[in-house]
């Protein structure tokens, strides 16, 4: 079965410091991978998605970047964090959900909560 891991789960960082959030997927190959951000009490904002190694599409210009150095690894980074980068970051992968769903479904990780002070 497929599993998705995100770390760290919680992070408190000062303004201006760098950021690295990591996501890995197990049990599948060449998945579509996504980074979403969820501000407090808000919806899901798509930040980046990747259809393969080294292929990154950015949805919202901002202080963040993403990389996919390996097939099942997706990294979200920043060189200098801003207060507005605080939020709940979710990694997700898109893959076949099986006969019950009959479709390619989006499966989320447990999330990484970032607080920038």
């Amino acid at each position: 079965s497929q599993t998705i891991h995100q770390w760290p789960a919680t992070l408190v960082q000062p303004v201006g410091s760098p950021l690295s959030l990591e996501c890995t997927v197990e049990g599948t190959s060449n998945p579509n991978l996504y980074w979403y951000r969820q501000a407090a009490g808000r919806g899901l904002q798509l930040l980046f998605y990747s259809v393969g190694i080294g292929q990154i599409s950015s949805e919202v210009p901002q202080n963040l970047s993403a990389s996919r150095p390996q097939d099942r690894q997706f990294i979200l980074s920043s060189k200098k964090l801003l207060l507005s980068d605080s939020g709940f970051y979710l990694c997700a992968w898109r893959g076949w959900g099986g006969r019950k769903s009959g479709a390619n479904v989006l499966t989320f990780g447990a999330g990484s909560r970032l607080t920038v002070l």
């Binding site: 579509n32 996504y34 009490g41 808000r42 919806g43 899901l44 798509l46 998605y49 259809v51 599409s57 979710l90 997700a92 898109r94 959900g97 769903s101 009959g102 479709a103 390619n104 479904v105 989006l106 499966t107 989320f108 990780g109 447990a110 999330g111 909560r113």
Partner: protein, 113 residues
């Protein structure tokens, strides 16, 4: 432009009542409509999904009603329970291009015992 519009933003229901959340979409090319349930501090989890070739799908107490002509779909939670208290997101995507899932803004459901 918001591809998927969701309402209400928040909902309070008595235990045993029916919770109804509505979504509307613009792009008629969408062919997959999932609902996600998110508990505080957790990632969203797929709850139930529907394709436009059917008008209703039921799984236990959860039902999706789909109106293709109106470009609307809704989630009904029958016999709502306090454990159903969570944020619910509707979404839409295309299976053929499929790189993006468009999410609604979420509905915070509180079920009062």
């Amino acid at each position: 432009q918001q591809q998927v519009k969701q309402s209400p933003q928040s909902l309070i229901v008595q235990k045993g009542g029916i919770s109804i959340i509505n979504c509307a979409y613009e792009n008629t090319a969408f062919d997959y409509f999932p609902w996600y349930q998110q508990f505080p501090g957790k990632g969203p989890a797929l709850l139930i999904a529907i394709r436009p070739d059917v008008s209703e799908k039921k799984e236990g107490r959860f039902t999706i009603s789909f109106n293709k002509s109106a470009k609307q779909f809704s989630l009904h939670i029958m016999d709502s329970q306090p454990g159903d208290s969570a944020t619910y997101f509707c979404a839409a995507s295309r299976e053929d291009t499929g790189n993006q899932f468009y999410f609604g803004t979420g509905t915070s459901l509180t079920v009062i015992p």
